[in-house]
Symmetry: C2
Subunit: 352 residues, 2 copies
Amino acid sequence: MEKRIAVLPGDGIGPEVISSAVKVLEVIARRFHHSFEFVYGSIGGAAVDAYGTPLPDETIALCEKSDAVLLGAVGGPKWDQNPADTRPEKGLLAIRKHFGLFANIRPVKAVPAILHRSPLKEDLVKDVDLVIVRELTGGLYFGEPSRKTHDAAVDTLVYTRVEIERIVRSAFDLARMRRGKVTSVDKANVLQSSRLWREVVEEVRAGYPDIEVEHQLVDSAAMKLITNPAAFDVIVTENMFGDILSDEASVITGSLGLLPSASVRTDGFGLYEPVHGSAPDVAGKGLANPAATMLSAAMMLRQSFGMEEEATAIEQAVQTIYEEGHCTADLAGSGVRPLSTEQWAARVAEEV
Amino acid sequence: MEKRIAVLPGDGIGPEVISSAVKVLEVIARRFHHSFEFVYGSIGGAAVDAYGTPLPDETIALCEKSDAVLLGAVGGPKWDQNPADTRPEKGLLAIRKHFGLFANIRPVKAVPAILHRSPLKEDLVKDVDLVIVRELTGGLYFGEPSRKTHDAAVDTLVYTRVEIERIVRSAFDLARMRRGKVTSVDKANVLQSSRLWREVVEEVRAGYPDIEVEHQLVDSAAMKLITNPAAFDVIVTENMFGDILSDEASVITGSLGLLPSASVRTDGFGLYEPVHGSAPDVAGKGLANPAATMLSAAMMLRQSFGMEEEATAIEQAVQTIYEEGHCTADLAGSGVRPLSTEQWAARVAEEV
Ligand SMILES: CC(C)[C@H](C(=O)O)[C@@H](O)C(=O)O
Ligand SMILES: CC(C)[C@H](C(=O)O)[C@@H](O)C(=O)O
């Protein structure tokens, strides 16, 4: 197959982890006889510096002509004082909105080789295998008015039935391919938007009699993710709750450095990026862990290109390296010798 | 001293745990020569059933004539389908708003005797000693418009500078009496209300040069509460972030059943309630753990009545019973014989 991939390295460790993942994709292309064309664009703080905006038109045009987008990370203290429109993070929000990437998919699965790194007791996390489906283009991060004066500020949480229905359907469809359970998270005892959310979930579930459904309040879900994370299969929730819960979930297994994410719409186009951030403090030192970006590339192969075998090859290679006890600086433990970002990439490429 | 205490048992296990706490307060009154008058009022589902509203005028009048309010818990599946205005939870929101109880104070401290119950590794939680200061009468749970049609719904997050300033000052004052560190949590990379929040924190800190201040994004705070909870001293945040983070924090030490909370304003009047909910499934069985309600009563003695010694007497009594290995059904572990709610209350009363 011929595929064009828009590559947006971004800030901090973004360029390093992206370069490692691209190397692995090049090996995949050779081994499976595909042709991947990588076209590079600017986003985030790097784009603010070069173009004065975190999502330049050039980058949008590039992504429009591509089959999928692979992104590193954005942001850093350098731009923390910037006005709202030239914040690196704004580039992320804008690209999600522009391309209608309404579904953010974040799998969290216990990795036996690094289970001992979990902050939770191993018994609680060893069977964790959940996916958070977060609505990504509505809610409080996009509603109007959103404004601030000297004396007051307002943000607005709006959801339409249509927006809720499509994300809830994505979650039910996903649950069907997994263990058949959906946990919908809201704050229906207080918020009107959550009451609409719950209503729509009840309507959609009628079409999925095979799926087990439960409603959880967001405060209670924040507790259960810690006290019994293995009980979850698919969690579906609105944008901000999803932001908080997915980051919370990302640390319970001790494998934040290994977590990929996909932001997709229904036609197969999607943006893939690691869950971790731009880690400006370790940037440029060759210490970054490229595993999550490689696994994001694997998600891209599977979800946007339908390349199941290729995706699995990357996933198994990463797994193998972990099982051999190799890791990167962020995961180094007693007795384990960390590899540099480049050495890691080289080992995975070999293994693939 | 003579004090009148408004007692609102509420729903589920509310009446049981309240009755235990009142018994302990009666013993305190005798031992320390105070006179406590307990006046009983209705709130939550119980009030909906009796008066058709979750916060009847009678209850408001009762609280207005009292020096502090002790509350059990509200809510239960019985009222889950009620329209917005006759939801038990609405009673809580309404009483907070009516009395201007803008500061919700939730201490979370590791209890050595039950540390083994923590879902986290004991090393991570043994030194946890933090307080969450949550803004309680503004933000998304109160902003207008808040409405829902068939096709869409909206909620509004509004904060004024004045609202932010007073809660932030409470947090700084509290930090001064503790380890001198404030972590302010917001989502300033996306929300305008959070940018105003951060601005105000920066202004307030100028008057507290002795206090160490850090800003954390809410998603990142949700991670750090798990990966390094002992690093926090005072956490201050807006209403909804506080709702989520305080529930998350409440489970990390394994002592949810022991956590008290205070909702206060600046003149000493306050509402005190356990962090746990109404637990309808165990209600009426004499299995409920009254410890958190007793500790809430202790907070009331200290914060609303200035009775330091009396508060400490309750806290030490509860502590002693835990150290003796007695517990209630919710905390029963291997080899530990659980006491009923009443037996527990009797033991604490003896100890006091
Ligand atoms: C950077 C920020 C805007 C973004 C979000 O909150 O959506 C990030 O936290 C994420 O979760 O992808
Ligand atoms: C019952 C509900 C309205 C309430 C809240 O979210 O404020 C509760 O969760 C709490 O934290 O006290």
